[in-house]
């Protein structure tokens, strides 16, 4: 299962730079980044190659952060790809908490990161529908 790091940040100049700096110093590669903004504060969400090490590095800098399992679903990089995937969610009665994605050259497709309440259940469901759900190792090797 893919590991996502959620980091609490104040809405102040230079905070994301600070995160990037601590990842750089710890020699960690950021594969994806998303921001959930709530005005005065927000969550920065990272997919990195060494999540445990990244969390330690961030905590050392004083960030409040944690690791969360998310779905990394591979889908076709063509019009309607996302729609086809998302259509299946209501069938299972699953609500998406947050999501973001990117196109990956190496797999000739897109990876869509999805936060849901029960990622394990959703993984099994999507695999049943023929989708590929990446393991954390596979994401780092993209």
């Amino acid at each position: 299962m893919a590991k996502q790091i959620n980091i609490f940040v104040d809405n102040r100049a230079g905070r994301i730079q600070k995160i990037a700096e601590s990842m750089s110093l710890a020699n960690i590669n950021i594969r994806a980044l998303a921001i959930q903004d709530r005005g005065e504060f927000g969550l920065v969400k990272l997919i990195v190659n060494k999540p445990d090490k990244a969390v330690l590095a961030l905590q050392e800098k004083g960030f409040a952060c944690g690791i969360k399992d998310v779905l990394a679903v591979v889908m076709e990089d063509k019009p309607g790809g996302l729609y086809q995937l998302l259509k299946t969610f209501p069938e299972e009665g699953v609500n998406i908490l947050d999501a973001y994605g990117f196109a990956a050259e190496t797999i000739k497709g897109s990876v869509f990161f999805i936060e849901v309440k029960d990622p394990a259940q959703m993984t099994a469901f999507l695999q049943g529908k023929g989708y590929k759900v990446l393991t954390d190792q596979e994401i780092y090797e993209l």
Binding site: D10, A64, L97
Partner: protein, 433 residues
């Protein structure tokens, strides 16, 4: 006009005799009726016999806010609860609020000193007073109300808020006196401008402003906007509420009604008397109260005092505006706020460290705003922004229910609140006062 010339202009010698007689009476009274003071006297090895003149007051032990908290709610009363006519409540430092019980005579005393205050500010019997202090457990509204009635004035009990209605009442009824917090008068000015009202043409000629700290520059601003004479009033609920001291039209210090509230100024560190003109903590003793008389009550307000006779003819000592506090209490929109109250709430809520900071601001022409910044625990992890929002809302709700005023809560990253020598500075007061 001087409301009670006999007492307000009494020669200092006569005043001292009055104070001595009243002190002796009060000390015997609390010794007889108040178990709290019986114990206090016993532990200090003092009895009413030791008090012969007002100068003997220094032999009496101090009373502090924690005494009121420790004896919550009614342990400091000097009469049976059934004889208490009215109860008011203000913030305590932690946990329990401060409760004050007034006898019927105390309400009469309150009316008297507030009548003196309105007249001291330039008011006259027959004037109309718009009371825009809050009515309720807060002493501002009812104190002003009683005083205006006593002085033979017409009261409009507006309470605070509903600003457009306040302005309409002012335009239609033409009250001469406005009683509210100074910042509310500026807030009303902004509303007035919005509806195209010419503030300079207001009917108010006198403002009796208090319940929060304000500066001379704010006075000038209020006076020029509303075209009125802005005077300062001082009080605290433990003593009576508003009506402890009031500026006269010369605005050269606040006349403290010392025939009923005896002032001392002490060095807060040593407890010894400060010299004339030196700053120190104001300590007040009730000379005539019967419901809950307090002896040598430490107000924690830092002031200067002068005993020189004023040009207005009053002989009562005059105190300066509040120059500071001996604790970290702040006053926001007339409400006392202690950082310890916030700390208590945060300790009850999981997910937060008791690292916090209070930021008070006074937006131009607006009411004071209190922001509580709370550090998230480093180990704190939330799956969702929603949960962080929930946490922030929960903190806000709990603080608001403790303080009784609206606050803004802002979650901040761990270790972002500045620590000085390992201890955080709890209050940042950005108000220009």
């Amino acid at each position: 006009m001087i409301y009670n010339e006999k007492f307000e202009c009494m020669s200092l010698e006569e005043l001292k005799n009055v104070q001595s007689e009243r002190l002796k009476k009060t000390v015997s009274y609390v010794y007889q009726y108040c178990p709290f003071y019986q114990k206090k006297f016993a532990s200090h090895g003092i009895s009413p016999k030791d008090i012969k003149t007002i100068d003997d007051i220094v032999k009496l032990p101090f009373t502090v806010k924690d005494d009121l908290r420790d004896n919550y709610p009614f342990g400091v009363l000097s009469m049976p609860l059934a004889q208490i006519a009215e109860i008011h409540v203000s913030s305590g430092t932690t946990g329990n609020p401060t409760v004050v019980g007034y006898s019927k005579e105390d309400i009469e005393l309150w009316s008297e000193v507030m009548a003196r205050a309105f007249c001291c500010a330039g008011g006259l019997p027959g004037d109309m007073v718009q009371v825009a202090y809050g009515y309720g457990l807060f002493t501002g509204g009812l104190g002003a109300h009683y005083g205006a009635l006593k002085a033979g004035m017409t009261v409009i009990p507006c309470s605070s808020g509903q600003t457009k209605r306040q302005l309409k009442i002012m335009q239609d009824f033409k009250p001469r006196i406005l009683a509210c917090t100074p910042s509310y008068s500026l807030f009303m000015a902004d509303e007035a401008k919005e509806i195209g009202m010419d503030c300079k043409k207001s009917s108010w000629e006198i403002g009796v402003f208090g319940a929060e700290p304000w500066s001379d520059s704010m006075r000038k601003e209020i006076e020029s906007i509303w075209n009125l004479s802005a005077t300062d009033i001082y009080g605290l609920s433990e003593i009576i509420g508003p009506g402890v001291a009031q500026e006269c039209t010369h605005k050269d210090g606040l006349h403290l009604f010392s025939d009923v509230f005896y002032p001392e100024v002490i060095n807060p560190k040593t407890g010894k008397e400060a010299k004339e003109g030196e700053t120190g903590m104001l300590v007040l003793t009730h000379l005539t109260k019967t419901g809950m008389p307090l002896l040598r009550y430490q107000t924690r307000d830092i002031i200067k005092i002068t005993h020189e006779k004023c040009r207005c003819g009053r002989t009562s000592p005059r105190i300066s505006k509040i120059l500071g506090r001996t604790d970290d209490m702040i006053i926001v929109r007339g409400i006392n706020v202690f950082p310890s109250q916030i700390e208590e709430v945060l300790l009850r809520i999981e997910g937060t460290e008791p690292h916090y900071q209070l930021v008070v601001e006074r937006p131009h022409g607006g009411l004071d705003e209190l922001e509580v910044q709370v550090e998230l625990k480093e180990s704190f992890f939330s799956d969702e922004v929603k949960q962080l929002q929930h946490l922030s809302d929960k903190i806000r709700d709990e603080i608001e229910s403790v303080l009784g005023i609206g606050v803004k809560v802002r979650l901040v990253e761990p270790k972002t609140i500045a620590r000085s020598e390992g201890k955080a500075k709890r209050v940042i007061d950005k108000r220009n006062i």
